[in-house]
Symmetry: C2
DNA sequence: GTAATATATGAGCATGTATTCATATATTCA
DNA sequence: TGAATATATGAATACATGCTCATATATTAC
C-alpha cells in the first residue's frame, strides 16, 4: 500500500503535480498529452542516453569493464583472462574507446587499457547490485 | 598526477590490493591472469546485467520510461504523446513488461502502464544526469 | 446481435551488431 | 636486416532488433 493512500485524490494530484492521465474519448485528452509531452525525453537526449546504455548492453563489454576497474590491463592479458580471441577483444575495446569509456596508453609493444569514464563505471556497479538481487 | 604518485611501487600494490598487470612474455603472467579472473564477471551475471542495460539501450523505450515515471498512462495516450504507431508502442511495452520493468492494469477497454522496477528507473535517472553533462 | 474502440501479436523486412578470418601495422629482439 | 610479438582493423557472416502491416482479441455502445 502506498504511503499516500490515505490522501484524497485531489490532494494526491497536488503532491504529484500530475493527475493520472485518462484516455477515454470523452475526456480532455489534449491536456493530458500536453502534460506528458513536457516529461517526454526529446529525441536527441534519448539517443545520446541510449548510446551510453548500449555500451553496457553486451556481456563481453561488461566483462571487459569488470576487469578494467582499478587497473590498467594490456590487451593480451585481457584475452587470456576472458578466453576470447585477440580480435574480438580488440574490436570491443575500440568500441569502448570511441565512446570515451576507456582510455589507453601505449608502452612499447603493449597497450594498456583502463576505465576512463567514472560515471559509466558507477552505472555498471549500480546495475550489478540490481542484477544480483533479482 | 595520481594522489598516490609519491608512494613506492610495492606500497602501491598493498593499497590497491592488485598490481598493475604486466604482460611481457618473460613475466609471470599466470599470476596476473588469476587475479584478473577473480574480478571477472561470470557469464551468467554478465548476461543478466546486459539484459537490464539492453532494455535501456533504445530511444523509444527510454522515452516510454520517461513518460511512465510517477504516472499510470494508457497505451493510446502514450501513442499520441510520442507520435508513434499503436503497434510500435505496444511491442515495446510488451518488451518492458516481460522484463518486469513496467506493470499494467486493465480497466475496461483501457490498459494503464506504469514503472514497476524502481531500480531500473534509478539507473535511467542516473544515466540521464550523465548524458546531460557530456 | 453489429459496429466502434482499445490493445496485442505474428510475420516480414530492413538495419544493426558481435564474432571470425585474414591481413596490416608497429615494436622489439637477434 | 629478418623473425617474433602485440595490437588494430576491414570484410564477411550469422544473428538480433525495431518497425510496419495485417489481423486477432476484448470491451463497450447501439
Amino acid at each position: 500500500m502506498s504511503m499516500y493512500s490515505y490522501i484524497q485524490c485531489d490532494e494526491m494530484e497536488q503532491i504529484n503535480s500530475l493527475p493520472a492521465p485518462i484516455c477515454a474519448p470523452d475526456a480532455d485528452e489534449t491536456a493530458d498529452i500536453s502534460l506528458l509531452q513536457a516529461k517526454l525525453l526529446d529525441m536527441k537526449t534519448a539517443i545520446s542516453l541510449s548510446e551510453i546504455f548500449k555500451a553496457l548492453s553486451d556481456p563481453t563489454r561488461l566483462r571487459l569493464i569488470s576487469l578494467l576497474a582499478e587497473n590498467e590491463v594490456c590487451v593480451h592479458t585481457l584475452e587470456a583472462a576472458m578466453g576470447m580471441t585477440q580480435s574480438a577483444v580488440s574490436h570491443q575495446l575500440r568500441y569502448l574507446r570511441q565512446l570515451g569509456i576507456v582510455r589507453y596508453r601505449k608502452e612499447g609493444r603493449h597497450v594498456y587499457y583502463a576505465i576512463e569514464d567514472e560515471h559509466v563505471q558507477m552505472l555498471f556497479e549500480q546495475g550489478l547490485l540490481h542484477a544480483r538481487h533479482r
